[in-house]
Amino acid sequence: MTQSLYETLGGEAAVNAAVDIFYRKVLVDQRINRFFESVDMDKQVNKQKAFLTMVFGGPNNYTGKDMRTGHAHLVKMGLNDSHVDAVIENLGSTLKELGVNDAEIAKVAAIANSVRNDVLSR
């Protein structure tokens, strides 16, 4: 059996390192940062950790329904495909900084893309 990227990268510790880079990128990205401004930074960080754990193929309890209810208010704020693209782009550059190869990055992007319709309530 092949290892998931989650295991290859080093599990939870790797997710923590990736979140540090990823969330900073997202917060300074003018295209999408308004969707990530939250009252509580800790809660936002935890959400990003759960997201990265999922796209790295780690243990998670995400369901399509969670994705829909969790993002419904953002869809009302105008969340669309271009924003999902920007998130995936930031994800890719985060992984590049961490030394992950292009093939693995493509796999991660594919997992992220697999929840696109749920996130956008389609």
């Binding site: 923590n16 979140v19 540090d20 969330y23 900073r24 917060l27 300074v28 009252v39 930074m41 960080v45």
Partner: protein, 322 residues
């Protein structure tokens, strides 16, 4: 909506209502203070029905297994039967050794605990008055140097505990203090790491403890303290901190006033803004933020964007109870 059973009475909860809100709305007295899952003074136990995981955050594993939870952070998902038989609260009587005012708003309270209390400077204790009123205060003392627990009490408008401490408490009186808790303390794992401390008002208390602890343990990297208030009289320990900066080359003290300008020896800016202006790149730094919740919230974001890693940001918002 889930129902709560307490002392053989059934209480209907409303949507998104915590156990604390539900019970107090219906006239039950539950001890509480911060209402944010920090002080743990509203600890209850579930006899039936499991509390959600958020309600057990920060509790010891043994407490979690026994069903203890924090009423303020518990929005019941199922019917629950709850009790107030709090675990050993580990309250220790402590007598007032001295009580002096350091500024118009801040009193320095030194307590002598009747049993030795182990703590790290910067952690906090709950102080309990005889009638059950509880508030949390951070420790400014260093156990290896001070034979007392030092708290800085900022008088808050309509503050029941702070008003009482300022106006009525006197030397020789007794209060109860809890086991110290909290993550705001110095860890001697990177002696050369640059440290940034930003505090407002009595947020200086834990920082004063942490800084002196770091210096005692031989921290060799630079330490920068930005202490802010609107006006000069809101700052305190100014001479002590200047003296500390004189005797330690790596410690730098920057008193900040946001509501006054052109005062010699003070920077005219908010403490967090002054800190970032002087240190725009915080990569590799460890940052301690203590004091007003708005400052802590804003500064947490800005120091993170300036490069400080999430695990290196220690934030202690001083919430006031209402």
């Amino acid at each position: 909506m889930p129902r709560l059973t307490f002392a053989a009475q059934v209480y209907e909860s409303r949507e998104n209502e915590s156990v604390l809100e539900c019970l107090t709305r219906q006239g039950v007295t539950v001890p509480h203070s911060c209402k944010s899952g920090v002080c743990q003074s509203c600890m209850m136990r579930a006899v039936r029905g499991a509390p959600p995981a958020e309600a057990q955050k920060g509790l010891r594993e043994s407490q979690q297994e026994q069903g203890y939870f924090l009423a303020c952070s518990c929005v019941p998902q199922v019917d629950m039967e709850v009790t107030l038989d709090a675990p050993e609260l580990f309250l220790v009587p402590a007598t007032v050794q001295s009580l002096v005012s350091l500024s118009s708003k801040i009193a320095r309270l030194r307590l002598h605990a009747t049993q030795p209390i182990e703590y790290r400077p910067g952690q906090f204790v709950n102080v309990r008055r005889d009638d059950g009123l509880i508030r949390s205060y951070s420790l400014a003392s260093v156990p290896q140097q001070d034979n007392y627990l030092e708290l800085h009490v900022q008088r808050s408008p309509q503050g029941q505990m702070s008003g009482w401490i300022h106006d009525q408490l006197k030397e020789g009186d007794t209060v109860q203090v809890s086991t110290p808790r909290g993550e705001c303390y110095y860890r001697p794992d990177a002696l050369d790491q640059p440290l940034l401390f930003v505090g407002t008002g009595s947020g200086l208390a834990p920082l004063y403890g942490v800084i002196r602890d770091a210096l005692r343990l031989g921290h060799s990297g630079p330490l920068w303290l930005f202490h802010g208030s609107r006006k000069r009289e809101g700052l305190y320990l100014v001479n002590e901190l200047r003296e500390l900066a004189n005797t330690h080359n790596n410690f730098n003290y920057v008193p900040c006033v946001s509501g006054e300008s052109g005062v010699d020896g003070y920077v005219s800016a908010r403490a967090d803004a002054a800190a970032l202006q002087q240190h725009p790149d915080l990569k590799r730094w460890r940052v301690f933020l203590c004091g007003h919740p708005d400052m802590v919230k804003t500064a947490k974001r800005s120091v993170y964007l300036a490069g400080a890693a999430l695990r290196d940001i220690q934030a202690d918002a001083f919430l006031s109870a209402h």
